[in-house]
Symmetry: D2
Subunit: 267 residues, 4 copies
């Protein structure tokens, strides 16, 4: 497997590392021979990073200490993705992946791809034997998403297509779908055709008006059952010797997550 | 792959299906020739379930309609696990798996295994090339956990050992760890030995006293960095044509999730 | 002032006290000469309660210790109200009272009264110079509400009327209003007539469909500005020497609170 | 009563109004003859405000529309207080006032006063017959608090003293107390002396370490019972014709609220 997210313990020129100073200063850095990495904490020589290796400490020219970490999926979600659109947050993605039962070998539909943030998560979990089929109707995002996926070595598990899933998709017998679009009620017939019987779908829905409209459309369609909706709230806890407490600022809402499973419409 | 969680679309005698009436009436049912499934909604003939197939509707003797669904991971977490201990909830597990970057091929440490609820999730995500090494110091739970894992065909990806990780583990160079025990601060040295440099660990921590004690121990140990803690709150939304609204009752707290990554202690 | 909620420090026959054993065993008890109070913790003689006085400890026949407390408003909300309808919770009432700026001297409209739970809170805060005008269109609740208010000595600050505010109210130039009814959008014209210019109103709204409908009606009416909506979530923290942690069970939703202030419609 | 928070419906020179454009543009403005009020929405003549009156619309020189509102307590909490310290938020204050049963006639202890934000709320609810005794050990804040209280006409219900309540207070037989200080466990003996038997106290506690320490001190003191702790979370809902949804940003934590009631220590 050549995904960079393999928890490897060697690093080499051409790869990326996470240079970690503290929870606010964490940088994804490409290892290029003879280059330097600079921040407000001072300069680090990349050759020095290579010499020391993963998990080690490096000291900057300003005598600050940093650690060399192997990047995880979350580092790319937090720091590595060039974001051109609103993305689904990790708190929601983890729950969606678990609820859909996505795992190695799954064939998954995604709409819309945007900058490839969700796509990266899906590809990570379906590899090495599954595949993600992503649709995006804003042409300018497709190259950005592909480049984000290539950066982490996950592009081989993904096919991104230019198009609007409301007009149908090419795939059939898919294992699951994730839909993040403004008018998902228009895509129900496409989903019904593309999914295996019993396969689950998750819709990401920002507003109450959309939630009501989607529920009513699914309720009338009759091709989906086990309908549920949730909100995931994530609270960060600040850690210090003096005071451990939930953070003052919190993301109060991203979206509602609406789940359903395809059933065969009785005729 | 022979995990039952493969989103297959055929069913056969000997396997399980989810018989779904409504969000409260959902049953994991083993398909045995000539048998019947009974509930307050009436009786369903198992042979009839086989004949109709996944995604189809069946009608009970009381004229109630149910749907035949292929079980997902979440169905086993919600309905299929014989729970002998407090378990980590899906809302927390999805976030932990994402934050640790667990994926196919990972070698993961788990302590303690309990009834195998978390183990099942880990095995699902590391298959087919990874492995879960679970430790449990209460002998009576080990067979229960093994049986729960065998039921879903995930036992081959798991080794469960009888023992207390505070005294050390056999494995080295592991990719990640999940620790759910009352005194995790006693296991830091074991974790430091077992994990690869840079590998992440998640601790599940019910109380504030434990959170403070763990933070202080990690802070003093110097072998772990990128320390963060979170709480995940899940709010279910009730869906109906008349009233869509968050559920009156909610799980207000399960535990704090504490993350860290191993770094090489400077000598 | 004769409200029992006056934080007095004497007790006498005929009044009520809170007998407190622990957070689950707390009882509002009327002090009747020669009577006994019994619970699973044993028997307490009422004459003994009188003799000891507020703040003292009493010991039951089973040698359990209880404390004699002067009842507070919250004790009546939690324990003392005969509830015949869904009530607005303390977490919401405290916020509403603060946001509306209700205080001594205010003249406040309430619809509907139900069992008088909210009415009691309003009367407590407007006394001794203000007044609550409550409307209730279910005749059977009116006597219950009156009796609940008389019990705490707040009935003199309240007038309860049988009627539906959608058809108008008698009062004019009111300082504030609290509306808890299924179709509050039908009451906007009544509210516009009854409130002083600039006076605030709070609507308690359980579902998303109602919230949307109310917002659209207020938006079209043009007689209300400074429109805001909130949800208040209350998390109880369990306290013990061994483990301090948020409670496992929590009320996840009661209702949305929608605020607006009357402005003069331009003609 | 001369508090400006009396929901009056006349305005006059020398008083303040709230000039409301939209939820972000709301200004407390003193009405001074011949003066102008300017914002990015244009200029309003104060004489024109007086002429039109409370609840009316005014049009700016840039043709923007604003409404003239009588300020409520919440407007001073949100906009009118010169804040020199961290304050307790309205979501917490409403709940505290309700739980303590504060109402007209109560005699309440407050420590520390800071800029007088909480003091203003307490004075509003105890007027006209109650009184707030506020202690502040940072001399420079006392004049600020007094000036904030005088601005709304509530200064006559408050006595602010320079001092540290850990060394005792002059008052006895108080009805309630609100304590917002870093080391409240040092003030238990003072509170025990100052409160009536059975009288309630609320402590505002930012961190987990403080919560644990306070609980242990109260548990050992034996002079306080009915101990409870809560967190209040407030979620704002954004309202628009296109999308009603909880706000993206939310205050995730202000503090824990810890309640207890004084009981007579058995000797």
């Amino acid at each position: 497997m050549t995904s960079v997210l393999n928890h490897g313990n060697t690093i080499e020129y051409g790869k990326e590392v996470l240079i970690y100073f503290d929870n606010r200063r964490r940088f994804l850095v490409k290892l290029e021979q003879g280059k330097k990495f600079s921040s407000d904490k001072g300069v680090i020589l990349i050759d020095d990073v290579i010499k020391r290796g993963v998990g080690s400490q490096v000291v900057t020219t300003l005598n600050a200490r940093a650690w060399i970490l192997h990047p995880l999926l979350i580092d790319y979600l937090e720091k590595g993705i060039k974001r051109v659109t609103q993305v689904i947050y990790p708190k929601d993605l983890g729950f969606i992946v678990l609820m859909l039962g996505i795992g190695s070998g799954c064939r998954v539909l995604e709409a819309g791809v945007g900058s490839g943030n969700t796509t990266m998560v899906l590809a990570h979990f379906v590899k090495p034997q599954g595949h993600v089929f992503g649709y995006e109707n804003r042409k300018e995002f497709i190259e950005i998403a592909k480049s984000n996926l290539a950066r982490v070595g996950l592009d081989k598990y993904v096919t991104i297509k230019y198009g609007d899933i409301k007009k149908g998709v090419d795939e059939r017998e898919l294992d699951a779908a994730i839909i993040d679009m403004p008018d998902p009620w228009e895509a129900l017939e496409t989903l019904y055709s593309a999914l295996k019987p019993s396969a689950p779908v998750a819709f990401f829905i920002p507003s109450m008006q959309q939630l009501i409209k989607l529920f009513e459309a699914v309720d009338e369609h009759k091709g989906f059952m086990d309908v549920r909706a949730y909100e995931v709230l994530l609270r960060e806890i600040e850690l210090s010797r003096r005071a451990i407490r939930p953070s003052t600022h919190m993301v109060g809402h991203t979206g509602f997550i609406f789940f359903a499973r395809k059933v065969i419409k009785s005729s």
